[in-house]
């Protein structure tokens, strides 16, 4: 009896887990993102076009050699950028990903931090444009109530049923 319940609960938890996974990102193959190997294409074959685009180089100097005021500011900005998901990646944060959009957003986070914007202002800037998708810690709202509450609910149910099972067995 206990074992059957145990299996049922593990089945339910794995179900819940897959719901979370599919909700967090259902990958769409219908749009494309720019990666570095796409800089050249068939239409850019004319002799006047530069093969390496200077803009990306500028961007990478801006991001990689960004000057913070002090080490504390740098650490805080990086930890904030780590809590934000790159909008076009499956599961990489703004520090891990080197896609052009992640680099731009990373630079934006650093700049806003240096300007003295609060973490909430930076998070608002990101969610205004890209939605809650960019947050690794989703807000607690009606839509995410199940996401936050279900694990706790499952745990409580498991404890309740386990205790009841033990008490029932002892009574026998």
């Amino acid at each position: 009896m206990i074992w059957r319940r145990f299996f049922l609960f593990s089945f339910l938890s794995s179900l819940l887990f897959s719901v979370m996974l599919t909700n967090s990102y259902a990958a769409s193959s219908n749009y494309e993102t720019k990666s570095d190997d796409k800089t050249n294409n068939t239409y850019a074959a004319s002799g006047t076009d530069p093969i390496f685009v200077v803009l990306d180089k500028e961007q990478s100097i801006n991001v990689d050699l960004f000057q913070f005021d002090n080490i504390q500011q740098q650490q805080q900005a990086i930890s904030l950028a780590k809590s934000l998901r790159c909008p076009q990646c499956q599961n990489q944060n703004l520090i891990e990903s080197n896609s052009p959009i992640a680099r731009d957003l990373r630079l934006k986070v650093f700049q806003m931090y240096k300007e003295g914007k609060s973490e909430q202002e930076i998070i608002d800037y990101m969610t205004y444009r890209f939605g809650d998708f960019v947050l690794y810690n989703p807000k607690l709202s009606m839509a995410t109530l199940l996401l936050w509450g279900a694990p706790l609910l499952l745990l409580l149910l498991l404890i309740f049923y386990s205790f009841r099972g033990i008490i029932n067995q002892q009574q026998k």
Partner: protein, 198 residues
């Protein structure tokens, strides 16, 4: 087996059914394409060059000589379609044929050329036809960043007040148009009927 045990089995079964239906709903609802983000918000302010720089390319269009474009140019008409594209994006080129159909139906389209090279973009328009009234050249992706563009193609519908009323990530097709965009044109008196031609 006691009555209580049977009752709890029913409860467990009920929970399993609820989670299963949630799982199926989670898989089938592809709500990341028809994004609600930025709908109801005004278009961001910007000042960017036109791709139709007279020195490079003159497509014989009304505002081809215009060099700089800003947010006010995006809401001159009752409904304006804005399409983000790039020459390196093969899905955009598949979408191109449908955009040309939309143009024939009288839908005004302004393009945003995203992280691209000018000549490459112009080559696409020369070889495959040009569905746009105007193309904003955005090589650094600055306007695209403010519009929350994740990838190309991406399309926005803007009303005359400059407010985004619809947004779609991915390739536009007749089906997508009917579902998400055509309803916004129904209430407009002066636009040609789009639904009749599908």
């Amino acid at each position: 087996m006691s009555k209580v045990g049977r009752k709890s089995n029913v409860i467990i079964l009920l929970i399993a059914v609820i989670f299963l239906s949630l799982l199926i709903w989670g898989i089938t609802a592809k709500n990341n394409e028809n994004s609600e983000v930025l709908i109801g918000e005004p278009i961001p302010h910007f000042e960017l060059l036109s791709l139709y720089d007279p020195q490079n390319y003159n497509p014989q269009q009304a505002n081809a000589s215009q060099r700089y474009i800003n947010q006010n140019d995006l809401h001159q008409l009752p409904m304006q379609l804005i399409n983000v594209w790039a020459s390196w994006c093969s899905t955009c080129r598949l979408e191109h044929a449908y955009l040309l159909t939309l143009k024939q139906q009288g839908i005004p389209i302004i393009g945003i050329n995203y992280r691209d090279q000018r000549q490459a973009a112009i080559n696409v328009l020369l070889q495959e036809g040009d569905p746009y009234q105007q193309v904003i050249f955005d090589p650094k992706g600055s306007l695209a960043l403010d519009l929350g563009v994740m990838g190309t193609p991406e399309s926005y519908l803007v009303n005359q007040q400059g407010v985004i009323v619809q947004r779609y990530r991915g390739q536009l097709s007749a089906e997508v148009w009917q579902r998400y965009f055509a309803p916004h044109f129904v209430s407009l008196p002066s636009t040609p009927s789009l639904s009749a031609q599908q």
